[in-house]
């Protein structure tokens, strides 16, 4: 950190983002949210994937919370990637926070990680994904079909083929599994 910047922050403290400085991108479906999150984060913007406020909630939704001041820049980036939000709305009320706690169960040879309602189980010796359980959205059987029986290195990333909140929860479990078993 530069000396001048450090001095300025010491005097005034880091700039706090107020709630009304934040906006929400609302997309057609969760898979678009997952794609947009990946693209925006890669460019270094601080965003959060959150639950939508009740007035725009339909059932299996995620929205992206972003600093309003960056709206045009982010929209331009998304446009280049052919991703257009359905709506951009300011944050006026507290948003639902996704689950960020994990539960790990060690079966000896097998390790199971649970995020929200999704569970991913890995054979620790072969690194093969042996089971996916929990969840109720239609991409869960699809994700299981595509991932079970493959090693965690070869299996598709749920971030790329998941489309729902259950798919997003599995992505969290998958990332935690990689953290615990491969890093």
């Amino acid at each position: 950190m530069g000396i001048l910047k450090a001095l300025r922050e010491k005097i005034s403290g880091p700039k706090k983002i107020l709630k009304n400085d934040l906006g929400l991108f609302v997309f057609e479906n969760t898979s678009e949210v997952i794609r947009a999150e990946k693209i925006i984060k890669k460019k270094g913007w601080k965003i959060r994937v959150m639950g939508p406020p009740p007035e725009i909630r339909r059932g299996c939704d995620l929205v992206i919370e972003f600093p309003l001041i960056e709206e045009l820049n982010i929209l331009r980036l998304l446009h280049d990637e052919r991703l257009t939000p359905l709506e951009v709305v300011p944050v006026n009320s507290p948003l639902l926070k996704p689950v960020d706690l994990f539960q790990t169960k060690d079966f000896g040879r097998y390790l199971m990680i649970r995020a929200a309602n999704m569970k991913l189980t890995l054979d620790k010796e072969t690194l093969v994904i042996v089971n996916i359980s929990g969840g109720g959205c239609p991409d869960v059987p699809f994700l299981a079909q595509e991932m079970v029986g493959k090693t965690i290195k070869d299996a598709p990333d749920p971030e790329d083929i998941g489309h729902t909140l259950c798919g997003y929860a599995l992505k969290l479990a998958y990332e935690e599994m990689i953290k615990q078993c491969l890093q």
Partner: protein
């Protein structure tokens, strides 16, 4: 007759409706062969095994392809909302559909127009939609797992993904979560909760608990909740009342799992295959 409504994980799979049968490891509906991995095909397979063992015959399936984009689910929702009044089912089990509260309500309106209201069972995505719509008491039975029970108990969560941490981590406190779900009208008339201990409950409290045999590996195996829902649906369709069917289903599902000698890598079809033997064992007791 039992009708099962759900999805298969195949893109562009058409909407089909008709009697479901089993052939080797596949489900056959209207000439389509569907692999039984987990999800709605596993539920139907468990229903067929149960129904056949009890001398019943037909399971009706209403299925569509959906890999999570919701397109297939919306096609099925629309079909149900337009055509359900002309059907005659004793029991309907709604399963893996993209949760959508508006479409859910349209389907429920269509159920109201049926000549005879069937027993309504909901699990998975359709149960999420029922809870989010505030219509849970319209259902006769929900079959949540422990995580989904926490979601039902959290009056603010629109999906299990948003279940608040202080509720989510109360796995060992199922009775309190059950009463909390009923307190906020987020439970069906009966609950069959799958977990380390299975609970059968209604608004008045816990009716029964089943915890034997216990196989720890079952928690990791995808589809064990689907088979439980399939077994209880078929038992209710055979004429059993809901509490008895739920207790029997919990015991049969556990015993089928035990007979499969499972480890966390066991696949659900190994357990489905053991359902007739488990039903036979239960009948002897």
């Amino acid at each position: 007759m039992l009708a099962v409504v759900g999805t298969v994980p195949i893109k562009d799979f058409p909407l089909i409706s008709g009697d479901a049968t089993l052939n080797d490891d596949c489900l056959i509906v209207e000439g389509h062969r569907i692999t039984i991995n987990r999800g709605t095909p596993a539920l139907i397979a468990a229903s067929i095994k149960t129904a056949l063992s009890r001398g019943d015959d037909k399971i009706y399936a209403l299925l569509v392809g959906d890999i999570g984009l919701g397109d297939g689910s919306r096609t099925l929702y629309r079909y149900l909302s337009e055509n359900l009044p002309s059907y005659d089912f004793d029991v309907m089990a709604f399963h893996y559909l993209q949760p959508d509260s508006d479409w859910h309500n349209k389907v429920l309106f269509a159920v109201d127009e049926m000549k005879k209201r069937p027993f309504l069972i909901a699990d998975a995505g359709f149960m999420y939609a029922a809870k989010m719509s505030g219509q849970s008491p319209e259902y006769d039975l929900f079959t949540p797992d422990a995580g989904e029970l926490a979601f039902l108990a959290d009056e603010e969560a629109p999906h299990p993904f948003y279940t608040r941490g202080f509720i989510l981590h109360e796995d060992n406190n199922a009775p309190d979560l059950i009463s909390r779900a009923y307190k906020y009208d987020n439970a069906a008339k009966y609950l069959l909760v799958k977990g380390k201990t299975d609970y059968i409950a209604n608004k008045k409290g816990i009716i029964s608990q089943v915890d034997n045999p216990s196989e720890e590996a079952m928690e990791a195996i995808g589809g064990t909740g689907d088979t439980l829902t399939g077994i209880v649906s078929a038992l209710i369709a055979s004429g059993m009342d809901i509490p008895d069917a739920a207790i029997m289903a919990a015991k049969v599902n556990r015993l089928a799992g035990h007979l499969a000698k499972p480890d966390p890598s066991t696949q659900i079809m190994s357990i489905v295959e053991k359902i007739p033997e488990a039903l036979f064992e239960m009948a002897k007791r």
